[in-house]
C-alpha cells in the first residue's frame, strides 16, 4: 500500500533560498581572514565560532555519526589554520574555499572507511525488516522535526557520495548553485542534474521505508 501522497506536478511557490548572499557576510569573512593572517588571536576564535556549525552540519549529514563529524570538523579547522595563507580573496568566496576543504576531507574519509561500511552493510540488511515494520507507525500524521532529521540521515546514507554531497550543500546548507559548482569543480548544469537525481532517489528511499513525505 502506497502511503506517499504525490502532489500535483503544477505548483508555484516562493524560493526558500536567498538568490544573492548578503554582501555584509562576505566582507565580514574577508575581514576575519585578514585579521587572522595578521596574527590576531580573537579573529581565529570568531572564525571558528561563525563557521563551526556549517562545517559540522555538512560532516554530520554526510557521515551520519556525531563523533566522526566532530573529528572531521576539527581536522577541517586544523587545515584552515595551516592553509589560510593559500586562500586568495580575489579567487573566490571564503565559504566556497571552506566548503571545498570540508568536502575533500569527507571524500578522503569516505574512501578510507569504505571497507568498514562494506562489513556493516550486512548488518544493515538484517535490521532492514525491523525498520520497515516500525516505519508503518511513523506514516500517520506529520513527523516531528527530530524524527524527520533521523529519517533523512538514514536515507542520505543510501545515496552515492556525489548525489549526497550535492543535496547536503543545496538543500541543507543552502549554498547557491554557483558556489556548489565551484566547490565540486563541476558545471552548474551538472550540479542541478545531480541535485534532482539525488532528491528523486531520496524520495524513492523514503517511500520504500513507507515514510509519508
Amino acid at each position: 500500500m502506497a502511503t506517499v501522497a504525490i502532489p500535483s506536478a503544477k505548483w508555484t511557490w516562493e524560493s526558500p533560498y536567498p538568490t544573492v548572499r548578503a554582501n555584509d557576510s562576505l566582507d565580514a569573512d574577508l575581514q576575519l581572514v585578514e585579521r587572522c593572517l595578521g596574527g590576531q588571536e580573537a579573529a581565529w576564535e570568531d572564525l571558528v565560532r561563525v563557521h563551526t556549525r556549517r562545517v559540522y552540519s555538512i560532516c554530520y549529514r554526510f557521515t551520519n555519526s556525531d563523533s566522526e563529524a566532530q573529528d572531521l570538523t576539527q581536522d577541517v579547522f586544523l587545515r584552515v589554520f595551516k592553509n589560510l595563507k593559500s586562500f586568495r580573496a580575489g579567487e573566490g568566496l571564503f565559504i566556497v574555499w571552506l566548503t571545498r576543504l570540508t568536502r575533500n576531507l569527507l571524500i578522503d574519509h569516505y574512501r578510507r572507511t569504505r571497507m568498514d561500511r562494506a562489513t556493516e552493510s550486512i548488518e544493515d540488511q538484517a535490521s532492514a525488516l525491523e525498520e520497515n515494520t516500525a516505519a508503518i507507525a511513523r506514516t500517520e500524521g506529520m513527523l516531528a522535526g527530530r524524527e524527520a532529521s533521523e529519517l533523512l540521515q538514514g536515507a542520505l546514507q543510501k545515496l552515492s557520495p556525489e548525489l549526497r554531497e550535492t543535496v547536503i550543500l543545496r538543500d541543507l546548507e543552502e549554498l547557491e548553485y554557483r558556489e556548489i559548482a565551484q566547490t565540486l569543480n563541476v558545471p552548474e548544469g551538472t550540479v542541478k542534474s545531480r541535485l534532482n537525481r539525488g532528491r528523486a532517489e531520496l524520495a524513492r528511499v523514503l517511500r520504500r521505508q513507507k515514510i509519508s513525505i
Binding site: P7, A9, T12, L37, G145, S149, N196, A203
Partner: protein, 195 residues
C-alpha cells in the same frame, strides 16, 4: 525540449526562479510526460520534507576543542614565518648547521676542546690573553707572514739536517763494514777504489 533539459530546469522551477520561455516550455512538457511529472513531484515532496528537518547543531565543547588543539593566532603566524622564511644564517649554511648542531657532534666538539686544553696544560703551554690590539688586520697579517716564514725556514733546516744525518749514518755504516784486520781502519769504499 528534451527530458534531460527539463531535468536541469526543474531545479530552478522548484526554486521559483524560472521565468519566461523556459518556464512556459517546462509547464507545457510536464502534463505530457509522466516520467518528468513524477520527477517534479518527487523533488517538490523531498524539498518540503527537508525543510522540516532542523539544523544539525554541534556540541558546545567542539569549538573549545578546536581552539585548544589548533595553532591559533601568533603561534600560527610564528610557525608560518619559521617554516616559510628561514633565517639568513640557515639559508647561507644550508643543511650544514643542522648536521653540526646535532647533540652528538656538539658533544664530540666539546670533548675535543677539553682534551686539547688538558694537553696544553700538561705541556705547560700558557695561552696568552687576546688583546684588542691583536685584532688589527696589519698585525694579524704580519703575524701570519712571520709564522709562515718561520715554518718554511724550519722545514728547510730540518731537510738539510736530515741530509747530514743520512750522510753520517752511511759513513758510520761503511766504517762498521770495513775489514777488522786492515790497519788504520780504512773504509770499505776506499778499499774498493784502491782495487
Amino acid at each position: 525540449m528534451t527530458c534531460a533539459e527539463i531535468e536541469i530546469l526543474l531545479a530552478d522551477y522548484v526554486d521559483g526562479t524560472l521565468r519566461g520561455d523556459e518556464r512556459a516550455a517546462l509547464e507545457s512538457h510536464l502534463p505530457g510526460c509522466p516520467a518528468c511529472a513524477q520527477l517534479a513531484a518527487d523533488i517538490q515532496a523531498v524539498t518540503a520534507f527537508i525543510e522540516r528537518v532542523p539544523q544539525a547543531e554541534p556540541p558546545a565543547e567542539l569549538m573549545t576543542r578546536i581552539l585548544h588543539y589548533a595553532p591559533t593566532g601568533r603561534r600560527a603566524a610564528a610557525e608560518e614565518r619559521s617554516s616559510a622564511a628561514p633565517s639568513w644564517i640557515k639559508r647561507l649554511l644550508g643543511g650544514f648547521t643542522q648536521t653540526v648542531l646535532q647533540p652528538r657532534y656538539v658533544m664530540g666538539m666539546a670533548m675535543t676542546i677539553l682534551s686539547f686544553s688538558m694537553l696544553a696544560r700538561f705541556a705547560h703551554i700558557e695561552p696568552r690573553q687576546l688583546r684588542p690590539a691583536d685584532l688589527d688586520p696589519v698585525k694579524v697579517w704580519q703575524s701570519i707572514d712571520d709564522r709562515s716564514h718561520r715554518i718554511y725556514d724550519r722545514s728547510m733546516k730540518y731537510y738539510d739536517n736530515l741530509k747530514l744525518v743520512i750522510e753520517i749514518q752511511s759513513r758510520l755504516k761503511d766504517w762498521s763494514e770495513q775489514d777488522p784486520g786492515t790497519p788504520g781502519g780504512q773504509p770499505a769504499s776506499e778499499r774498493r777504489n784502491q782495487k
